[in-house]
């Protein structure tokens, strides 16, 4: 079958496994990122895996794109270790603070700079923002068809993929024609683990970085200032619960809980 040019978009996010230590800076009301390692957004690893499998079955190449601060370079190296052929970091202070549409505009410009793609794959949503919006917005900006939350994906023929999605009431199999954009759910595959050899080999390879000047974007359409949505206020909800801690040895705790709950 025809080899495919595949782009995979990834987002570095604070490690979800450390979310219990997330703290909000009381002054800036932003997440205190210090000390929290960045990892590839969990669903984006499924996106990369999907791209790698298509490449392995029919040839082609997989290029990873990410709009992120310079510190994300290390995270992108991990995608090379997983098997990506190239990783492109789109990084510039002008990109910072963008909402989903402003972010999609930067990603679209980065993708365009590298040519045409048969298939663009994104994780369905990010762990931190969780809006699930960048995928379909990125497709719209490129005039491409899109399908979100793909749970199963296979190559049908040279030009077509067969994908399965699931809404609240049914599963649908769709025959889709490339070029197009897909976002994938965790059900789509089990991402491969990193091999030591892969990690060592990736260390020697370089992540390509493009900045504002490289992409030829209008400053008024990107970053904080180019975002149609603005965050006006951040607040936490204080729970009104009066918490009672149950203590003692396990038998005592269970007996007390059993009584309290009136089971």
């Amino acid at each position: 079958m025809r080899p495919l040019r595949i782009a995979v978009c990834v987002k570095p996010v604070p490690d979800p496994k450390q979310s219990s230590s997330f703290q909000i800076d009381p002054v800036s009301k932003t997440l205190v990122r210090k000390g929290i390692p960045l990892v590839i957004n969990p669903l984006d690893r499924h996106a990369l895996e999907a791209g790698l499998r298509l490449k392995e079955s029919a040839g082609g190449n997989v290029t990873v794109f990410s709009m992120a601060p310079p510190a994300a370079e290390q995270t992108l190296t991990e995608t090379l270790a997983m098997g990506a052929d190239e990783a492109v970091l789109l990084s510039d202070l002008h990109f910072a603070g963008g909402d989903t549409l402003a972010t999609a505009r930067v990603l679209a410009a980065g993708l365009k700079k590298m040519g045409d793609w048969d298939l663009i794959i994104c994780g369905a949503e990010s762990f931190d923002g969780g809006t699930a919006q960048v995928g379909s917005q990125l497709a719209v900006l490129q005039g491409l068809p899109w399908i979100t939350r793909v749970r199963h994906l296979e190559r049908e023929d040279d030009a077509h993929l067969l994908v399965t999605l699931e809404d609240e009431v049914e599963q649908r199999d769709l025959l889709v024609q490339m070029p197009l954009l897909l976002t994938v759910d965790s059900a789509v595959n089990q991402p491969r683990r990193l091999s030591l050899l892969g990690i060592l080999a990736a260390r020697k390879r370089k992540v390509t970085t493009y900045n504002f000047n490289d992409l030829g974007l209008d400053k008024n359409t990107i970053g904080l200032d180019g975002s149609p949505t603005q965050t006006r206020e951040l607040f936490t909800l204080e729970s009104s619960k009066k918490v009672e801690m149950l203590t003692g040895n396990p038998q005592q705790i269970v007996a007390e809980l059993f009584t309290k709950l009136g089971l």
Partner: protein, 340 residues
């Protein structure tokens, strides 16, 4: 648009299933009516589909001013390109509304951001509350930043303001509005032609499978046992399932637990999952991110079991237990069986 040209317009995209409005549609209609009233404006409802003769008149309950009825010939499924093109063109042809509200369902979360991108406007995802500021801007309350915080999102300089609203969040306002119904309002029906973009052939339906009716539904469960990252592995997850079985509870999960593959996406509670209102909720190995706890509503009793005494969940429950669930849960199941 007849009579409505100078009035502010609020549009609601009304999803329906099996001849009924989706529950989130009823919530959106209520919110949309209230917002339109506060703006001294009108409520327009976008409906796509056939055989809706019985359903459409019920929109009078929400004093809808008009229905935009789209009946795409030969299209039996949600086609992202057709729906996006049609709504984008409606905004251009019929006049730009102040806002378009969608449910944060599969369809809404796919369609709303696409429409917003086409129009170059903002979209707020998974809102749990909608308000207006003094200028009439929509205040869209969303959970954000890893679920540790809520944010108020505004789209001050672009119209329409597009938002998806999480199902179950606006409940409780429906009845109050329905009581006010009864004022006879003429419901104007405007037929809108579906727009079929050139590349729409790129998406074709091959097969549809109805999902088996979920045996026990989280949204209506009286008891919920939920597990998070602290469960540790697939074997640990069976402990959660066993406890749920013993309690007659439905199993819920946090996003990390779903990402680990221990639980299905359908079982996720929280921002991008289900909203539950159980009488009893037991959260095990759950740190207490708002990303998850935003999905726990109602006045039920909440219990948390977690080894980390500093976990945020211990500030949000009625009873907290700092212990290894592998010790506590089997003892609890034994206690329940002994007393059965």
């Amino acid at each position: 648009m007849k009579g409505g040209a100078d009035l502010k317009q609020v549009w609601v995209f009304a999803e329906h299933q099996a001849g009924q409005w989706a529950s989130v549609t009823r919530e959106l209609l209520t919110a949309g009516r209230n917002l339109a009233d506060r703006l001294a404006g009108e409520l327009g409802v976008i409906v796509v589909g056939d055989e809706l003769e019985d359903l459409i008149p019920t929109l009078s309950n929400w004093r809808a001013n008009r229905v935009f009825l789209v009946q795409p010939k030969g299209l039996s499924f949600y086609h992202p390109l057709v729906y996006t093109e049609t709504i984008t063109e409606m905004v251009k042809d019929l006049g730009c509304p102040e806002m378009i509200l969608f449910g944060a369902t599969y369809l809404g979360r796919d369609l709303a951001p696409a429409v917003a991108a086409r129009l170059g406007t903002g979209c707020a995802a998974d809102c749990c509350e909608l308000k207006l500021d003094e200028q009439g801007n929509l205040l869209q309350i969303v959970p954000g930043l890893g679920g540790t915080i809520f944010a108020t999102i505004v789209t001050p300089n672009h119209r329409p303001q597009v938002a998806t609203v999480k199902p179950g969040m606006l409940e409780g306002e429906i009845s109050s509005l329905e009581e006010k119904a009864g004022i006879e309002m003429p419901l104007e029906i405007i037929r809108v032609e579906a727009r079929i973009p050139k590349n729409s052939h790129a998406v074709q339906l091959r097969e549809v499978r109805r999902k088996p009716a979920v045996e026990a539904k989280l949204e209506v469960a009286q008891r919920v046992v939920a597990g998070g990252a602290g469960i540790g592995n697939k074997e640990g997850w069976t402990v959660i399932e066993d406890l749920a079985k013993t309690l007659g509870a439905v199993v819920g999960a946090t996003r990390p637990a779903v990402d680990e593959g221990w639980a299905e996406h359908d079982q996720m509670i929280g921002q991008s999952g289900k909203t539950v209102r159980p009488e009893l909720y037991i959260g095990i190995g759950i740190s207490g991110d708002m990303m998850h706890t935003v999905g726990i509503k109602g006045k039920g009793i909440l219990v948390a079991i977690n080894q980390d005494p500093k976990a945020a969940i211990f500030k949000q429950v009625d009873y907290g237990i700092v212990a290894d669930y592998r010790v506590i849960v089997p003892l609890l199941m034994q206690e329940i069986k002994n007393n059965a």
